[in-house]
């Protein structure tokens, strides 16, 4: 497959770039933060995103989605990264939809995917318990009851956790903490008795939560996929979600560079435009190079994800590289903006704060560098 966008993808890109720049620019996130908005995204925007087909971009046409594939989801995510557009897109339409698609029964898919695609149900993954990503270290218990399960334990770093309607929860039906075996996925409604949702205010001003399960009872049909075998379906689905996150990080990095270059072309010191200083030119040119190289890793991984098969090597490559580059870009942007980059009035602070959170989500640079090395055979 040629590493360029086809005509259909190019049209999607133009549409997504225009849509998010107009409807959900970074100023909207600022407003939501200042208003201490409950959902931390605009319900109107989310409705429009569903109408545009973005909310169902990965969901098959059979289930009411657009079936556009991972490259398409990456295009939307990159545009959202550029604008820091706040919405449950990644949590619900990407991560949760992919896991349900991969592991769910026909009945579960038929019930959940159309609602996700329509933006009516917001679903999200609750898979981490530690402060660093390691789903296999889940200790949360799922005891077998008559006709169902009882969940006890906690989850943290749950995306859109304060607004989600349905949680896809990873819990242990058997096995020791750290073992890949014995983990199972359950669908839990936000209104379930014994479920405590604590919104956590985070650096990125978005919607995150910690969940506490005090003996939450669910029916047998809440089990998604095979009991004890969750990781086999979860990890490949997560890989796709990681690559879409990489595209969002790429959008953040690109926006950091573009705003910085614009500033270098306008700001004067010592009587000249500061963009004429070689010290700054080289920093900007190096950042440009890193972003272009990252763009290739992300596009390749998106394309490989659409081709199917085991693509963990590509997924970890993309997530590692995009995380590193977003870190570099947001740091460089503040440095090259000087004092103004440190002010809250200026937008750059939103970018660096969002970048770090997404760098960590579903595995940071070190996590994926290690996984990349293992997948490479060393």
């Amino acid at each position: 497959m040629a590493m360029i966008l086809n005509e259909e993808q190019q049209l999607l890109k133009e549409s997504a770039d225009g849509f998010f720049a107009e409807k959900a620019p970074v100023g909207q996130l600022r407003q939501l933060r200042d208003d201490k908005d409950e959902a931390c995204f605009s319900r109107d925007l989310w409705k429009e995103m569903a109408e545009m087909g973005f909310a169902g971009i990965l969901v098959s046409e059979e289930h009411g989605g657009a079936g556009f594939g991972l490259v398409g989801a990456g295009i939307v995510a990159e545009a959202m990264g550029r604008n820091l557009s706040a919405s449950p897109f990644h949590a619900s339409s990407v991560a949760a939809a992919l896991v349900i698609e991969a592991a769910g029964s026909d009945q579960q898919k038929g019930r959940l995917l159309p609602a996700i695609a329509a933006g009516e149900t917001i679903a999200t993954l609750a898979i981490d318990e530690k402060s660093s990503h390691s789903p296999e270290n889940s200790a949360m218990k799922a005891e077998v009851l008559d006709g169902g399960y009882k969940l006890s334990g906690m989850k943290t770093f749950v995306p859109e956790g304060g607004a989600a309607d349905q949680f896809v929860v990873l819990a242990r039906t058997s096995g020791e903490v750290g073992s890949q075996d014995g983990l199972s996925l359950f669908l839990v409604d936000r209104r379930a008795s014994g479920l405590i949702i604590d919104r956590t205010a985070m650096t990125d001003s978005r919607n995150w939560a910690k969940l506490t399960f005090e003996g939450v009872q669910v029916d047998a049909d809440a089990l998604i996929g095979e009991e004890g075998k969750a990781m086999a379906a979860l990890d490949p689905a997560l890989d796709k979600a990681r690559v879409v996150l990489s595209a969002e990080l790429l959008g953040i990095a690109q926006e950091c560079l573009d705003q910085t270059v614009k500033y270098l072309q306008e700001r004067k010191q010592f009587g000249v435009l500061i963009g004429s200083f070689q010290g700054l030119q080289h920093r900007a040119a190096q950042l440009f190079s890193e972003i272009e190289v990252t763009r290739s890793a992300v596009l390749k991984a998106l394309q490989m994800g659409d081709m199917g098969g085991d693509f963990r090597w590509f997924a970890s490559l993309a997530k590692a590289k995009a995380s590193k580059t977003a870190e570099l870009a947001s740091n460089e942007a503040i440095q090259m903006h000087g004092g103004i980059g440190m002010t809250d009035e200026f937008d750059m602070g939103f970018y660096i704060k969002r970048a770090r959170v997404l760098q960590a989500l579903y595995g940071d640079y070190n996590y994926h560098a290690d996984r990349f090395a293992s997948a490479s055979g060393y």
């Binding site: 072309q265 030119q281 080289h282 560098a369 090395a373 293992s374 490479s376």
Partner: protein, 393 residues
């Protein structure tokens, strides 16, 4: 069967029958084993009869330069057919029959800027490996500031008389002809007085002196012109318009340098040398460093692929080649630093049988020039800043 499949079968059969066994198996390319490369030229001594035969057979098909037109000694293949040929050669690990600056550098420039007569005169000799070329660009006072070059060419009617000095001329002592940037107008601004001329090095006015490098090798020379003569038939493009060709070739060279082929993966080297614990390289810190490097290297490899696909789709490479050159060469330096670390004290051996005469260390030192030759990394960053990011001068 499609035409392409038929071509693949014919090619496979032809290679099977014509590629001598001794020309298969080891990897060619500029990066390793320079001793085994067939460079061609009047002074070249074939390492074996097989090497001579392999060149002769490939040249008879035009397959030393598969995509050049047949009338100029090429194979007249389409890009897709050339890819098939390359993959079939890789399949049997066939060595490249001929590697040269004529093929890599001058040929593309002549195809683009030369007259029909110039192409007829020079290209077939390049394709057959009869004439070896070198590139006369840098001068003692014109390195990064290449356009400041001062080698003077005086108009003597039907020829030029050339005086001056070049430096960093790759393999000038082994070359037959030189493609050379000279100044034909000293009044014009520096970019507008340069011409691109070709001349035979086998004449009294030309002498060369190898430069010994930190690697102990001497791939570069100083080249002196003392009333050297170049016929005007061998002026490429218009007089004083040589900078256009120089820039084209620099872009071409940068793309080429950045794409020196896929290097040997470090993981095989490291697991071999350091051993593994539970399938992982035992030295955890080195494992991490290797992973960091390979993440960048793989991302860069996909960038080369993307750049090619974009160019094929009609995009303009332009200054993007500066990014590829800068990034690719820094990456290669980093790679050789890692190779040194993996090999530990063995890497420092300079002579003798254990180290193939210090191959690891000498290759490592060679890479230090990667980010200098063809325009330094800093020059590439300047080009990116000005031509891509539009930062003010």
């Amino acid at each position: 069967m499609s035409d392409l499949e038929a071509f693949r079968e014919e090619t496979r059969a032809w290679l099977e029958g014509n590629c001598p066994q001794s020309m298969r198996g080891t990897s060619g390319g500029l990066a390793s084993g320079e001793d085994d490369i067939c460079w061609g030229g009047r002074k070249f001594v074939f390492k074996s009869e097989d090497q001579r035969l392999w060149l002769e057979r490939m040249a008879s098909c035009g397959w030393t330069v598969p995509t050049w037109p047949a009338e100029y000694g090429g194979g007249g293949l389409s890009k897709v057919e050339a890819k098939v040929l390359a993959s079939e050669m890789r399949r049997i690990k066939a060595q490249s029959p001929l590697v040269s600056f004529g093929i890599w550098m001058l040929g593309p420039a002549l195809l683009k800027f030369g007259t029909h007569e110039q192409k007829l005169e020079h290209l077939p000799k390049i394709a057959r490996g009869e004439i070896r070329w070198c590139q006369g660009y840098s001068e003692p006072n014109a390195g990064s500031d290449l356009a400041a070059l001062a080698t003077k060419a005086e108009d003597k009617g039907d020829h030029y008389v050339i005086n001056g000095q070049k430096v960093w001329t790759s393999y000038a002592d082994k070359a037959d002809w030189i493609f050379c940037l000279v100044r034909t107008d000293f009044e014009a601004s520096k970019h507008n007085g340069i011409s691109f001329v070709l001349f035979d090095m086998d004449q009294p006015g030309v002498s060369t002196k190898p430069i010994k490098l930190i690697s102990g090798n001497s791939p570069f020379c100083e080249t002196f012109f003392d009333d050297a003569v170049a016929s005007k038939e061998n002026l490429v493009g218009e007089e004083n318009k040589g900078w256009t060709i120089a820039k084209y070739l620099l872009t071409h060279e940068r793309t080429g340098i950045s794409d020196m082929g896929i290097p040997t993966p470090l993981n095989a080297l490291a697991t071999d040398k350091l051993g593994t614990v539970d399938g992982q390289i035992g030295d955890k810190m080195l494992r991490h460093q290797i992973a960091e490097h390979e993440i960048d290297a793989a991302s860069f490899m996909f960038t080369l692929e993307r750049a090619k696909d974009e160019a094929k789709a009609g995009g303009d490479m332009g200054a993007f080649s500066s990014m590829l050159k800068g990034y690719g060469t820094e990456l290669n330096k980093d790679r050789h630093e890692l190779i040194m670390k993996v090999n530990g004290s063995d890497a420092f051996e300079w002579e003798g049988q254990f180290s193939n005469n210090g191959e690891i260390a000498r290759n490592w030192l060679r890479t230090k020039a990667n980010s200098i030759e063809g325009g330094t990394t800093e020059v590439q960053l300047n080009i990116i800043a000005k031509r891509i990011l539009n930062l003010p001068a």
